[in-house]
Symmetry: C2
Subunit: 199 residues, 2 copies
């Protein structure tokens, strides 16, 4: 016996495909599941199999939703002429939790990344331009991670969107709430200085 039973190996291989999960963690998952009642296995298995049954991609904002257009793109109480641009779907939930924003979103589907070979053509930029022209968008808030990839994508989009007449802003960079100036890194502190706000 130099390996597990076939059904154990099969599931280890499947878990192994999940992002950030290696063979040891997969094995841990499988032996955890082996200790659970069959009903638990069915619940997980069914939830995986039926995940996409009701999920569509909203043809307007490109977010995962249960209808097309999605609830946000249909909501007339929201400002349908403002777009907050995010890299991935989960970013929308984080922004919604603030309760500060009442416009729509647009999911790029990633960030420009030369190392991984992701260029502008791989992102939903054409769809964004179409929306800006078609829906009379007035403001685009760029809400991308303050990383090298996020900054390059912001730079690329700024150049591109300057040609349109939309008001273009990006999320403020500065000190995160609850942090200590003493321990802030130079770039964060320098951004906080550059973006200093009138009182």
């Amino acid at each position: 016996m130099a390996s597990h039973s076939p059904s154990i190996n099969k599931l280890i291989d499947e878990f192994n495909k999940l992002p950030g999960i290696g063979p040891k963690t997969s094995e841990k998952f499988v032996f955890y599941l082996l200790s659970q009642p069959k009903s638990e296995l069915n619940k997980l298995g069914q939830a995986v199999e039926h995940l996409k049954d009701k999920i569509v991609v909203c043809s307007s904002c490109q977010n995962f939703a249960e209808s097309d257009p999605c609830l946000i793109c249909r909501d007339s109480s929201r400002d349908q002429r403002a777009i907050c641009l995010v890299a991935e779907s989960p970013d929308i939930l984080a922004l919604e939790k603030t309760g500060e924003y009442r416009g729509t979103y647009h999911v790029l589907g990633g960030l420009i990344n030369a190392v991984e070979g992701i260029g502008p053509q791989d992102l939903k930029i054409k769809e964004l331009i179409n929306r800006i022209n078609k829906d009379g968008i007035r403001e685009v808030i760029i809400a991308l991670n303050p990383t090298i990839e996020g900054e390059s994508t912001t730079l690329y989009l700024t150049k591109l969107l300057k040609k349109t007449k939309v008001r273009l802003t990006k999320l403020a960079q500065g000190l995160p709430t609850g942090s200590a100036i003493e321990y802030a890194d130079e770039i964060t502190l320098s951004n906080a200085l550059k973006g200093r706000q009138p009182l």
Copy 2:
């Protein structure tokens, strides 16, 4: 929209139950799966649902197997009178990979752990004693993790098994291969000294 679609939330909740997985990692898994074709979802879902269909617990060694007794307990080319005692099933695979051992195994199903309230009665110790008496076992090799829990369990079992006539050994403790004496911790080095081997 202060939360994801129901089918997304459902799967996040299910992944959240896996050991060591929190809501953020669950979310990452779900959005990864949303980017995969339906066939991949079916493969993972089916593998989870059918995991236990063919898996039984070997009534002799308590390991997960596809037959009872398992392949190792049935293998007449192996020494059926030697038992290597392990805490969990995955330990068996690690030991088998060495190719050094040709006896049988016994899975305790855990280790004595006062903090988590796991006592000897929660482990497959009665089954071990039964095997020792019934199958004329000659040697028991204790192969438990060299941790506080592993050591307490070894101590408990040593006291218990001293009453039987089996030859009782435990895995050697000392320097791991490829390590540097300079950086070895005191307990490892002290164990390596105590267990020094004649040349």
